[in-house]
Amino acid sequence: MTFRTPTGGAIDRDTLLHFTFNGQSYTGHPGDTLASALLAHGVHEVGGSVKLGRPRGIVAAGSEDPTSLVQIEAPFSEPMLLATTVELYDGLVARGLAGQGKLAAEPDPARYDAKHEHCDVLVVGAGPAGLVAALTAARSGARVVLVDEQNQAGGALLGVDEYVDERPSAEWVADVVAELKSTPGVLVLERTTAFGMYQDGFVLALEKRTDHLGFAAPEGVARQRVWRIRTRQTVLATGAHERPVVFADNDRPGIMLASSARTFLHRYGVLPGSRAVVFTTNDSAYCAAIDLAESGVDIALIVDARHEAPARLATECAARGIEVRAGHVVVGTEGAGRVTGVRIGPLAPASPDITVACDTVLVSGGWNPVVSLFSQARGKLRYDAELGAFVPGEELSTVRVAGSATGELDLNACARQGRDVGSEAAAAAGFAPGGQVPLPVSDSRCTARSGLVLWRVPGDDDASFVDLQRDSTVADVLRATGAGLRSLEHIKRYTTIGTAHDQGKTSGMIAAGIVAEALGVELEDQRPTTFRPPYTSVSFAALAGRDRGELHDPVRVTAIHPWHVAHGALFEDVGQWKRPWYYPKPGEDLHTAVLRECRATRESVGMMDGSTLGKIDVQGRDAGKFLDMLYTNMMSTLKVGKIRYGVMCGVDGMVIDDGTVIRVGDERYLITTTTGNAAKILDWMEEWLQTEWPHLDVHCTSVTEHWATIPLVGPRSRDVLAAVAPSLDVSNEAFEFMTWHDTVVAGVPARVCRISFSGELAYEINVTAWHGIAVWEALMAAGEQYGITPYGTETMHVLRAEKGYPIIGQETDATVTPQDLGMSWAVSKKKPDFIGKRSFARAENNRTDRKQLVGLLPVDPSVLLPEGSQIVETDRLPEPPVRMLGHVTSSYPSAALGRTFALALVRSGHERIGETLFVPVEDALVPVTVTESVLYDKEGARRDG
């Protein structure tokens, strides 16, 4: 049996679409939603309920529907969509859900993106009020964006067959949309839901671009797009949702909102059933009844809770043979699955006196303005007692409301509001009024404002569902108030009303009403629960947009990177950088490769790509003075041509970074930072300069990317350098440690610094990034006869650890001072002040049992301590908590030492040198000897080669 009307509806009857629901094959037409297509086949039962397992149907025709949850299975699995908002396409496979969906196991092949849009007036909702508002603003010359969640403009007009200006309303809508679309600077977005309103006119909207195309969705086109709209003024013309009345067994499939049934009829050409009872508290349901009757539905009865039925409409009904029973209510329903009958009785006392057989119950309990976005914009709401709903309760300077979102339910009045508000918004955005938009005049017969506010019909509280999706009943609400709860927020949590995917669009107001009745308080004094973004649900992938995979965070690579890749380097993530970690030869693991790299470097020559080091060019008359404040040691006394190592602390006296400072000229320094801290340190410097010492003449510029930096390390480094820099006198006398020279290396202008992070004779060769690879390759070639070996961060770590040099972030953790690192030598005693100095005088800094950097030698030289191991004093572990003395910060096998070793922070470490301590490793306690942190070449003999 079909429930499709022979004619009518905005569907393409000539095209047949095939789809599968709950394993059954069906057909529908373009223009259908999954819900309308199911209803056309008489299918009301979509899923089950979440707690009680009761059948659940289709209650509304749009995004406010509380129950028609489905899982899409094909083209691609997607959980928890509403059948009422899934546009039908060929090949769709779906199934009904009991309130819980399922995530696809396969990766989502679709693409998502985001777009920024700036406008003067954003209009949300393309119903009559929104259309008039948008057109009014557009005619004034404002840049207008109009969004609507539906696939076409028209709003409430889509669900009626009314005439506007004496022609079908769709024609009027089409004209307005056409003018809007042809106006420059106007953007009309269909299938686009404004879901979040934020600060300063920031509105998020989700456009569903290809969902409705199903299998035909073109590849490469973003399936969904997040619009990040920044607008001066917003007009909310978001309409109103019909709300039901609660009565016993009101959850059976076949019970739906009256206006939704009317929408199914006019928009989709679908009848909700064969025989319907209409239950209403206001006039609007009469139109539904009359329209459905005219389309062939047997309207068994209109039950109007009001004492008197509206005379004109009652006459119209009588003319069609529809009985109206005023002062009556639906007291209960019957049916195993779908509703088969209703029990009807007088409003007071609500006891059944007749039972009417039917397969459909159409309910209208009045209208709730859609105030979610207004509330998100922090607009206060006010209870409108006549309407029985919360409405916008204040004027906001940048957000205006028009149409039934204000509680105004008459179309002509809504349009007038749209015009007023549209021109106000344009004016507030700075636009003079343009051509007047003529107001549409509708022939609508049913206004909804004439209602009785009725939340529920007394009856079996346990079967009177307030939130159909959550299975929450009147009994639950009463139990909550009985438990002592007064706030709606508490009751919402107690009953879970309004927490399902619909966020209480149809149930929230009713729950508030029932609570107020139960507590004997006025709704005027109640605070509605907060509306939170998003207005309707948004897929995670849409919000992630393009920021996934590689684009999740930019990857930074050095100029020499391709060489490292070509030579089999494995990489380590350091901040956003990819740094060569080590260069394994076939068959090598980390340890063997690193031992080889270390040995080659200490015995002959190695080199690494140090380009990621942060580099900051510091210039200006006061550069020296400024660096004296930033570093713990003195930089202003550094001579041009010289280099000094420096440590920086925070104001709390803890080490934040270290690096070298080279004096380039009288008023110019080049400093280096650790790789991970480059941006932070530049920010840090600028913060001090701009906010504390703006009188200092200093300018800082990041030059990290300008330079390729290649440390050339090992006893043969001088020979290699000499080979590629013939004009440079590389002798120890001419090129001293901690000095630098500008020269030519491999035919390229270069700055060579004699610094060493390994204790070996070493040079750091800096050339412009452009020449990085060429110079690197020239060095490789020149070093070939010495077996020059490229090494990565791991070898660099070992070499420096053998010398006891800390790595900031590895040996330090924001609780370590320069003194703790044994670097008192780098803390100036002469300078009156520098950042962090005052903190060194605090009580805690002067404890003798601070953790200090030391070396650890496992008594068994083959035992490698895991980094991160803790250190204890005794060779037997007491019951926890065990007193810990510190932890292992670095630990390596050492080729140079012929054994393993570690660095560690140890309580009173400097005093413990020579002591034996213990390191718990799994179930054993490994004895270790505390040593100085410098383990290799203590005399520094290797530095000069």
């Binding site: 706030s487 508490h490 992630a544």
Partner: protein, 409 residues
């Protein structure tokens, strides 16, 4: 059909609490009816027999951070001081359901803290070792182990920040925040504590260096002792007696998806990728990210934080692509310089301070309730909160938990 997914959630009891008018005076007035205030009242009554107590709440009970947090419970903090109080708390959690006679849905499903860089690995191993020596269950698991515990984590080495391993605390988990708060409230009420809602403290009255009363939106209430449990509003309250605190109040956002069939058996947190996720009992994915950078009391943050969080979530959990964001919200977290709390006495006699829990105080609810009650009852810190004085910022004895707590919970 098998039984519906929501069939087994426990019901709340038929009675919770009364709504009394405030009395003229109480022995102890607790300002703030969040988890900490309610737990403090409970332990004051239960352990110390102090029942002439009022909890004053400016809004609805436990409607602040308590109602907004992502309920991660764990004790795997780095430093001994933190281990002490968080592990004390975890032990109390383990008996809390029985203690309160309330189904708080405490579920020890374990917490994974992922490591994405070699330094993360070192820091993680360090924390695991420290935890073990402090008697806290902790293990280091490699990527295969991560996959075993939580099969949907993307452990492929080909992602932007591959998972290099994780710390795992099996006894960690989640609980249901409202149930916890209501459990405490109901039990405290049953022992005679007055729970007074819609009662904002607007002033603190002192005489000769001692607290004497609080001014409220419902009138003056005399108090022998006053205990501040106002979380994000702590600075505002302390200011009423001229006390400055080393705190900044920031928005912290969280979100949930719709209900989904179980896919996520544990709790996963990643500091480096900035997201943490669990799947609550009903089936919704619960997620949070980093704090919004600015000070804010608006209980709302900025949307780009949510977008970043989603991209981070999909990096780790590609299967979430078509899950849907259902609801977002924000709380106000009181962030301290060392990411550790401040619990103890103040320069004002009879005024006690509990704040600075920032993004991670839900897990501490039982522990701090117990220790703070002890502090109030004895006018002396409990050993577990002794390290968390206000003075530590002067002496420099900070308890820097940024590594374990920065954007974590």
């Amino acid at each position: 059909m098998t039984s519906p997914p929501g069939a087994h959630l426990p019901e709340h009891p038929d009675f919770l609490w009364d709504n009394p008018e405030p009395k003229a005076s109480y022995d102890v007035v607790i300002v703030g009816g969040g988890g900490h205030g309610l737990a403090t009242a409970y332990y004051l009554a239960k352990v110390h027999g102090i029942t002439n107590v009022a909890v004053l709440e400016k809004g609805w009970l436990a409607g602040g951070n308590m109602a907004r947090n992502t309920t991660i419970i764990r004790s795997n903090y780095l430093w001994d001081e933190s281990s002490g109080i968080y592990e004390h708390s975890l032990k109390l959690w383990e008996g809390l359901e029985e203690d309160l006679g309330y189904p708080i849905l405490f579920d020890q499903r374990g917490v994974l803290n992922l490591a994405h860089s070699l330094q993360d690995v070192r820091d993680s191993v360090r924390r695991v070792n420290a935890n073990r020596l402090n008697g806290i269950d902790a293990e280091w698991v490699d990527p295969a182990g991560v996959k075993e515990i939580c099969p949907i984590v993307n452990t492929s080495p080909d992602v932007r920040y591959p998972v290099l391993g994780a710390t795992y605390q099996p006894r960690a988990g989640i609980a249901k925040h409202d149930y916890v708060a209501w459990g405490y409230a109901r039990a405290a009420h049953a022992m005679g504590v007055d729970l007074i809602q819609n009662c904002e403290v607007t002033g603190l009255e002192t005489s000769q260096g001692r607290i004497t009363a609080v001014e409220t939106s419902r009138g003056r209430i005399a108090a022998g002792k006053v205990a501040l449990c106002a979380a994000g509003h702590s600075s505002v309250l302390a200011k009423m007696v001229g006390l400055r605190l080393p705190l900044a109040s920031h928005p912290l956002q969280a979100l949930v998806s719709e209900l989904l069939e179980p896919v996520h058996p544990t709790v996963v947190m990643s500091n480096a990728v900035h997201v943490y996720v669990s799947q609550a009992h009903k089936g919704e994915l619960v997620m949070g990210a980093g704090i919004d950078s600015y000070n804010g009391y608006g209980q709302r943050g900025s949307f780009h934080i949510i977008e970043q969080q989603m991209s981070a979530a999909l990096e780790l959990f590609p299967v979430f692509a078509r899950a849907h964001l259902l609801r977002t919200w924000a709380g106000i977290v009181d962030v301290s310089p060392d990411a550790s709390p401040i619990v103890g006495l103040t320069p004002v006699g009879g005024l006690y301070l509990n704040c600075g829990w920032g993004t991670g105080g839900f897990k501490a609810t039982p522990g701090v309730g117990d220790c703070f009650a002890h502090t109030i009852a004895h006018d002396k810190p409990h050993p577990f909160n002794e390290p968390f004085t206000l003075e530590r910022f002067t002496t420099g004895a900070l308890v820097d938990e940024h590594g374990a707590a920065a954007v974590a919970h």
